[in-house]
């Protein structure tokens, strides 16, 4: 005899197929099962049996509803009846629809963001084949980093040249990319700042960008316009191809060679693209040595069909090893090949996962509550059910009625929820970090709205079936408490425990994130950003340092301490600050440092402590001995172990890029954390602006923007009215960006905790209130026997707190279980220590006291005589 059918499926069939008919039909299925097992094997027969069990379940529901011919005629009546019922109990209707709507609105917003930013494929062909390449520092890196994320570096021009010239087995084209730079466009005496990207013609092929007019740019002197910019500034005139644009203050002209629709998300929202990486990369930047240490170029490539990033890495690593024999700068370095779409979203993936999880948890909390409301309602209305059955209504009619009523309630909640999500999406977008790819495209589209509507309808149907099943289990009874025994205190109590546990979980996460934010806020950044304002411009002229120097002197003359800087703290994203390699000698290990260009007053204005030596002086001019100031982290990594900051002053270091003379260290300053409070310290080298400057300049001024805006405008306009300066803003506003993701986490979890706490309190309140109502007789007798108020209040409190404490304990256990996973979201969470359980205990305990206070006080106000008389009646 072959083994029997799967027990789970048998159990399900036993539930559905009742009576002689059902019994016989189960026999039919068993018989067919044995025959199939002999003919096709036990595994196939078991699979068949399971599908048949589900099938019978679905058909039985259809039969119960009798959703066949003629049944639509009854739907109208059911709808009218449902609306009458809802009108009769508006509080219940508002509670169910409102709670469901709240959860659904949150879930819809979270899904809309996750869909566009995270789940929807990037808008270029075969996005899985477009990869980003990194140089990977030898293990461990000079800064001691071992994880690949910290060891990733961009490509040097020399290596990019080698990669482009090589014939690849796994790659179909390699291109350098520069994004996010700004350039001034002189037109009719006005200068407009445009955002610019650089991309080689291969880059266009890699991203599948086909120009609408013309062709991709092939060199620095050629530009391609984005379709949006072309429409905005040229009125979509196709004749613009071939015209020239004056870009940069120096009046350099570039030829417009094409117009294209650029995919949003990558290379990002740019006005024009030049072909800077289209020519010979080696000759486009510095000497061969400098080229290989100056790792600042983003590189993308397209995998050949059927090739994986791992295969490409293997080939690229072998190629790197071969290049290291010719260029020792690559010795020990390897490569990293990652899918571009994944890499773009990587910094925000955890944040988005949290947002998504938050929406789902809130929806789950709402559904749990709604099920509780509806189940209680059905039990209370069990007498109505038996009256209908007595009048001849079938079970099918009752199920249909329950379904229609729940669907109406769900729709009443769902439609406003989708409208609320549509309205909420703009504030949520504003709240999220602006550099999330495709964030500006996030919207509640008809597709998203349809998903929200489907979820609402599904939840409505589930609630309808659950309500019907609960009422079916009830038995007719004269009094409400007896009917409520169907779910009993245990059933409803379990719902309360579940809600409190979920809320505890969310509160724990919120407390941990808040703890982390406070901790980060207290980290010493190494500079003092309070009271500093910033502005920026692009000066593309040889005399730019003279312009800046005069400007700074004029500002000092007006009593405004000011400094100028390039690549200064916070003025660029982490990825944008160029990093260079430097060796003490040919045999030593390379350290990777960041170079900042700064004017004389920079350290004083920024509050960066000078630890030894001096700041820059007027004598540190373009023709004098090259000098640098270095950070204490630079001293630690570059000089032999034990070198003090005093000893470092007066020594020379290896030549910097763009130079061949060893610069003299004139000062050592404190290390700054300008990539965020939790970012690792990077060695820093400061070069006087007088000795090296670039066209993009930031001004740092002492004073609040509103106090110095007028004198600054007077000085700037008086000196050069053509230069366009960005609006003055407080330096601290740049810091806000660091806390952007944390802020969103806090806000999301805060909202979720608040909503969860509210829902849990509602659940606890209705549970305790019902217990008090159902035990009126017992409480009345206790009062009649002289029980003091305090005892009665404690009696009620203890009942509620026991359930809440169980939920809190379960929630905390879940939190500590999930902690390793949550640590992936926010580093340092385990350090929150006792803060989590203490905060959760206080908040949940306080909320539970509030939720139980009403019913407890009501118990003390009961008149024993009235209560006992009611019972006799």
């Amino acid at each position: 005899m072959s083994p029997g059918p799967p027990p789970g499926a048998r159990w399900l069939l036993g539930l559905v197929l009742r009576g002689d008919e059902g019994h016989a039909f189960r026999g039919d299925l068993d018989e067919r099962f044995h025959r199939k097992a002999e003919e096709e094997g036990v595994r196939a027969a078991r699979w068949w049996y399971r599908t048949q069990a589900l099938n019978v379940l679905l058909w039985s529901i259809a039969l119960a509803v009798d959703w066949g011919r003629g049944s639509w005629a009854g739907i109208g009546g059911e709808l009218r009846s449902s609306f009458r019922t809802l009108r009769r109990s508006p509080l219940h209707a508002a509670g169910v629809s409102g709670t469901l709507g709240l959860g659904l609105a949150a879930a819809t917003v979270a899904f809309a963001v996750a869909w566009k930013v995270w789940l929807a494929p990037m808008p270029y062909p075969d996005p899985d084949r477009v990869v980003r390449l990194y140089e990977l520092e030898p293990l461990p890196s000079a800064a001691g980093a071992t994880d690949p994320d910290s060891r990733r570096q961009r490509f040097s021009p020399g290596l990019l040249h080698d990669f482009r010239a090589h014939s690849w087995r796994t790659l179909q084209g390699v291109s350098g990319v520069s994004r996010g730079s700004r350039v001034g466009w002189s037109r009719d005496g006005e200068v407009e700042m445009l955002s610019r990207a650089s991309l080689a013609p291969e880059g266009f092929r890699i991203l599948g960008i086909v120009p609408l007019h013309g062709r991709p740019p092939a060199g620095e002197g050629e530009v391609l316009l984005s379709e949006a910019f072309w429409r905005r500034s040229f009125g979509a005139d196709p004749g613009v191809v071939g015209a020239t644009m004056r870009l940069g203050g120096g009046g350099r002209s570039a030829t417009i060679v094409g117009v294209a629709h650029l995919p949003r998300g990558y290379p990002g929202r740019v006005d024009l693209v030049d072909g800077a990486w289209g020519g010979d990369a080696t000759t486009s930047a510095g000497s061969a040595d400098g080229d290989r240490d100056f790792r600042h170029i983003e590189v993308i490539a397209r995998l050949r069909p059927g090739r994986s990033p791992a295969e490409a890495k293997e080939e690229a690593d072998a190629f790197m090893a071969a290049r290291a024999r010719v260029h020792p700068e690559h010795r020990g370095w390897s490569t990293e090949v990652v899918v571009l779409a994944d890499d773009l979203i990587r910094p925000f993936r955890d944040l988005l996962a949290l947002l998504h999880a938050a929406g789902l948890v809130l929806l789950l909390l709402a559904v749990v509550n709604v099920v509780g409301f509806v189940a209680a309602r059905r039990v209370e209305g069990s007498r109505d059910r038996f009256l209908r059955l007595a009048l001849g209504a079938s079970e099918g009619r009752l199920l249909r009625r329950s379904l229609v009523e729940s669907l109406v309630l769900a729709l009443v909640g769902t439609i406003p929820a989708i409208l609320a999500a549509w309205w909420l999406i703009a504030p949520v977008r504003a709240l999220l970090p602006a550099d999330i790819p495709r964030l500006d495209e996030v919207a509640v589209t008809p597709g998203i709205a349809a998903v929200g509507l489907s979820v609402g309808i599904t939840v409505g149907a589930l609630i309808g079936v659950a309500g019907y099943l609960v009422s079916r289990l009830a038995r007719p009874s004269r009094s409400r408490p007896a009917a409520w025994q169907v779910m009993g205190d245990g059933g409803r109590g379990a719902l309360v425990v579940g809600q409190v546990a979920l809320t505890t979980l969310v509160l724990s996460a919120g407390t941990a994130v808040l703890h982390r934010a406070v901790e980060m806020n207290s980290i010493d950044l190494g500079f003092e950003p309070e009271g500093v304002s910033v502005t920026s411009t692009v000066i593309d002229r040889p005399e730019r340092y003279e312009i800046v120097r005069t400007l700074l002197e004029d500002l000092q003359g007006r009593g405004i301490p000011a400094a100028a800087a390039v690549n200064a703290p916070l003025t660029m994203d982490e990825g944008e600050v160029p990093r260079f390699g430097m060796r003490r000698n040919a045999a030593s290990e390379e350290i990777v440092y960041e170079m900042h260009l700064a004017s004389m007053e920079y350290f004083r204005v920024m509050g960066i402590d000078l630890l030894s030596g001096r700041s820059f002086e007027p004598g540190d001019g373009p023709t004098s001995q090259p000098v640098v100031a270095v950070s204490e982290e630079f001293v630690r990594q570059y000089f032999p172990s034990g070198t003090t900051v005093e000893e470092a002053v007066g020594q020379t270091v290896a030549p910097l890029p763009y130079g061949s003379t060893r610069p003299l260290v004139v000062g050592v300053v404190r290390a700054t954390r300008h990539h965020g409070p939790d970012a690792p310290l990077v060695p820093e080298v400061y070069v006087p602006l007088a000795q090296l400057s670039t066209d993009a300049v930031w001004l740092l001024l002492q004073g609040a923007p509103e106090a110095i805006a007028e004198p600054f405008a007077a000085v700037a306009d008086g000196m050069d009215p053509v230069l366009r300066w960005s609006p003055l803003m407080p330096y601290t506003s740049l810091l806000v960006e660091w806390f952007g993701p944390l802020r969103v986490q806090l806000l999301t979890i805060g909202l979720l905790s608040g909503a969860g706490l509210l829902l849990a309190c509602l659940g606890l309140y209705s549970f305790i209130a019902y217990r008090v109502a159902s035990r009126r007789k017992e409480l009345g007798i206790r009062r009649a026997l002289g029980a003091p108020d305090g005892t009665l209040v404690w009696h009620v409190f203890a009942g509620g707190l026991a359930w809440a404490a169980t939920g809190t304990l379960l929630g905390l256990m879940a939190w500590y279980r999930l902690l390793p996973w949550a640590t992936g979201f926010v580093e340092g969470l385990p350090d929150a220590g006792l803060a989590v359980p203490l905060t959760v205990a206080v908040v949940i305990g306080g909320a539970c006291v509030l939720a139980t206070a009403g019913p407890a006080l009501r118990a003390t106000r009961m008149d024993p005589a009235v209560t006992l008389r009611e019972d006799v009646q």
Partner: protein, 109 residues
């Protein structure tokens, strides 16, 4: 008021009962349907169709003897009632009238 008439699938089930004669019961009907139509048939659909047909008075049923291979459960033997037979007659006549003379049109070119 009892429901009248049968749907297309219900007619197929009645035809299977007619073909099986005295020995018609759930599992046999299911197999007959699969054999004649060449398609797999959902058990739940047959179960529901039998219930509906019985409610409409087109078939009747009685319990047979239990067998070990059925887990000790009895067969529910079904047979066509005169209204069921009449329903099939009418459907057959309609089908014959509608299909008369269409054979040449249905032939493959």
């Amino acid at each position: 008021m009892p429901e009248r008439g049968a749907g297309e699938f219900e007619r197929l089930v009645m035809l299977a009962i007619l073909r099986l004669g005295e020995g018609a019961y759930g599992a046999a009907i299911l197999e007959e349907l699969e054999r004649q139509t060449g398609r797999s048939t959902a058990s739940g659909a047959v179960y529901v169709a039998l219930k509906r047909l019985e409610r409409k008075g087109l078939i009747s049923s009685e319990l047979g003897d239990p067998t070990p291979e059925r887990g000790g459960r009895a067969k529910r033997l079904v047979r066509l009632e005169p209204p069921g037979l009449e329903e099939l007659r009418q459907a057959h006549a309609e089908w014959s009238r509608m299909t008369e003379g269409v054979e040449p049109l249905l032939e493959e070119p």
